[in-house]
């Protein structure tokens, strides 16, 4: 176990090293920091002096070591646009993104497990087929399009006049398919409750929750079909196994076989794939936050790109790198702990 831990840790450090070199190379090659500091009207001799003073003429390696040393201490430099430490800007935007990811994860867990299990137990029932059909359509719709459709239906409203209004059922059908469109679709709302420090939460008030619904559903829509299919596939495989047949032969109630015996082993691979997918959700937050103008890290990153705010871009990359590396390492560790058949010290399969 210790050997495995150390191995994972080494891997994590290696990845972070690669990311930091890349991030530094970006910072080094994009734009001229002296230009950013002094503007146009300073003579070349003074620029050279500033360069010398800040060590910008040092070799790449020396500069990189300085950058890494500062980064480890949490000093990523100042954002050009916000004129405050880049890490503080990120910290201010982080809670919004984390709440969004949390809400989306909640939706995914609440829906994928029952649907996945049901469609594994009854693979031929029309409801399962419907779910599988919806899930492949769900995979094929990009997350920003889901978001736009949700905005159209629930925030703008749809008036259906497809059916003849004169007949009673026509009017009823028109009414049934029309939506009012009163859901908020822009930002986090006015009713945020401060929890601690710079963490304002959407989860405490009705208005806040309303603002969270559409972004969270859009973000969940990209992962939900994947999870349903994964849980279904794993569950079907488990249901074929000897021990499930044995439990059934012993006369244990089917409900107990499904939800105690089979579900436990189904969740093993789901945890690992799931953990990694939660990490990749960070990428989708960029898209979701853009559509809903959700003031999180993703929107901040896109703004930083448009403003060529290089320290902020670099800090974002490093933070996202840390998030990925930490989630992947934790997932590996959990998998190693709950699944004793994994050879912890051996080569990865």
């Amino acid at each position: 176990m210790i050997a495995f831990l150390i191995k994972r840790l080494m891997h994590a450090i290696l990845v972070m090293f690669v990311i930091s070199v890349l991030a530094f190379a970006i910072q080094d090659n994009l734009g001229d920091p002296v230009q950013q500091m002094v503007g146009q009207s300073v003579p070349e001799s003074e620029r050279e002096e500033i360069r010398e003073r800040f060590g910008l003429n040092d070799p790449f390696l020396v500069q990189y070591v300085r950058f890494a040393k500062n980064a480890v201490q949490g000093d990523f430099g100042y954002s050009y646009f916000y004129r405050e430490p880049a890490l503080e800007v990120i910290a201010r935007h982080l809670p919004a993104t984390l709440e969004l990811v949390f809400a989306a994860t909640l939706i995914i867990v609440l829906f994928s497990v029952p649907i996945g299990v049901y469609s594994a137990i009854k693979p031929r029932s029309p409801i399962s087929r419907l779910f599988m059909g919806i899930s492949i359509i769900g995979i094929s719709i990009p997350v920003f399009l889901t978001a736009i459709v949700l905005i159209q239906i629930f925030a703008i409203g749809v008036t259906v006049t497809l059916f003849p209004e004169s007949t009673g059922w026509g009017a009823w059908l028109n009414d049934f398919f029309s939506t009012e469109g009163n859901m908020p679709s822009f930002g986090r709302g006015y009713d945020l409750v401060n929890v601690v420090g710079n963490w304002d939460t959407n989860l405490a008030t009705w208005n806040g929750l309303q603002h969270l619904v559409l972004p969270a559903v859009s973000l969940a829509s990209i992962m939900l079909p994947l999870f349903i299919r994964l849980i279904r596939a794993e569950m079907m495989e488990v249901l074929q196994s000897e021990y499930v047949k044995y439990a059934r032969a012993k006369g244990i109630s089917m409900r107990r076989v499904y939800f105690v015996h089979a579900l436990k082993n189904t969740m093993l691979p789901v945890i690992t794939v799931g953990g990694v997918q939660i990490g990749t959700m960070v990428a989708y937050t960029i898209l979701t936050e853009t559509v809903f103008q959700w003031p999180g890290m993703g929107l901040m990153f896109l703004d930083a790109i448009n403003r060529a705010d290089i320290p902020l871009i670099v800090t974002y990359l490093m933070i996202v790198g840390v998030i990925f590396v930490v989630t992947n390492t934790i997932v590996d560790l959990i998998y190693g702990m709950v699944n004793p058949t994994v050879k912890l010290t051996g080569k990865p399969a």
């Binding site: 990009p142 399009l145 853009t290 060529a308 871009i313």
Partner: protein, 313 residues
Amino acid sequence: MSTTTNVPPSRWERLRDSYMWYSFKRDRTAQLCLAVFICMVIAAFASPLLAPTNPYDLSQIDIMSSELPPFWIDGADERYALGTDAQGRDLWSIVLYGTRVSLLIGFGAVILQALLGVTFGLMAGYLGGRVDTILMRLADIQLSFSTLMVAIVVGALVKATMGSAFYSQYAVMMLILIIGLAEWPQYARTVRASVLAEKNKEYVDAARVMGLRSKRIMFRHVLPNTMSPIFVISTVQIANAIISEAALSFLGLGMPETHPSLGSLIKSGFDYIQSGSWWITLIPGAVLVVLVLSINLLGDWLRDVMNPRLYKG
């Protein structure tokens, strides 16, 4: 099966007798999807013939006729069947041209991914040792970020370095490069896994004993036996590449709005959705979904038929 003549069956006969054709004849979904996909590809590449207006020709665009609705809504203009966008471009024409650009980028990116991924996967699997370690560690690192994230970051950085004017001029090439570079590990892993299964078989030993060079064994002997997983992931990858293009364009890191692709059309329409002109964004959106869905369903069918041992996890 004993045949009296020794003439080997032609390609067409082999196809007709294959399990693939047998299963295709019985699968209504696969037939429908292939039909839809082929129709869309033909319509997209014949867009100069099919489209009533040319969206690149500014003289054919009339700003006065902007935001006209499609034909089934009151206030539609009969010249524009699917309505017009905010710049007064005919939506039917720009969707056709846009689909062409999206398909071009999708195919281009997948070809690039396949070239890189297959070469690296073959090398990693066949040569093993240090080459394998380095290449697979690289793939691991890249895959531990989502590929979309890599594409967004690379796109953003390239755009920041080169300036947006240069970037939008070469947007098609840039997108192919970015999406191709972001997704090669998928191929590399799949190919490596099947090469590892193949390389200890006797025919490879035989080729080695005959003294053939590694390169020849890799590409002429091992590669043909790893084709079916490559085909299967290719379909999914084309769908993914088209979605990635749309996502990048939607974020403003892809095709510029003057140069329609499905993604940039959705983006330009999104700005007008609050004013009630939903068709500008939702019609290209629907086309994108139908395209991706038909490719995904074909991929599902292909995976069931070929049933390769795909690399799991």
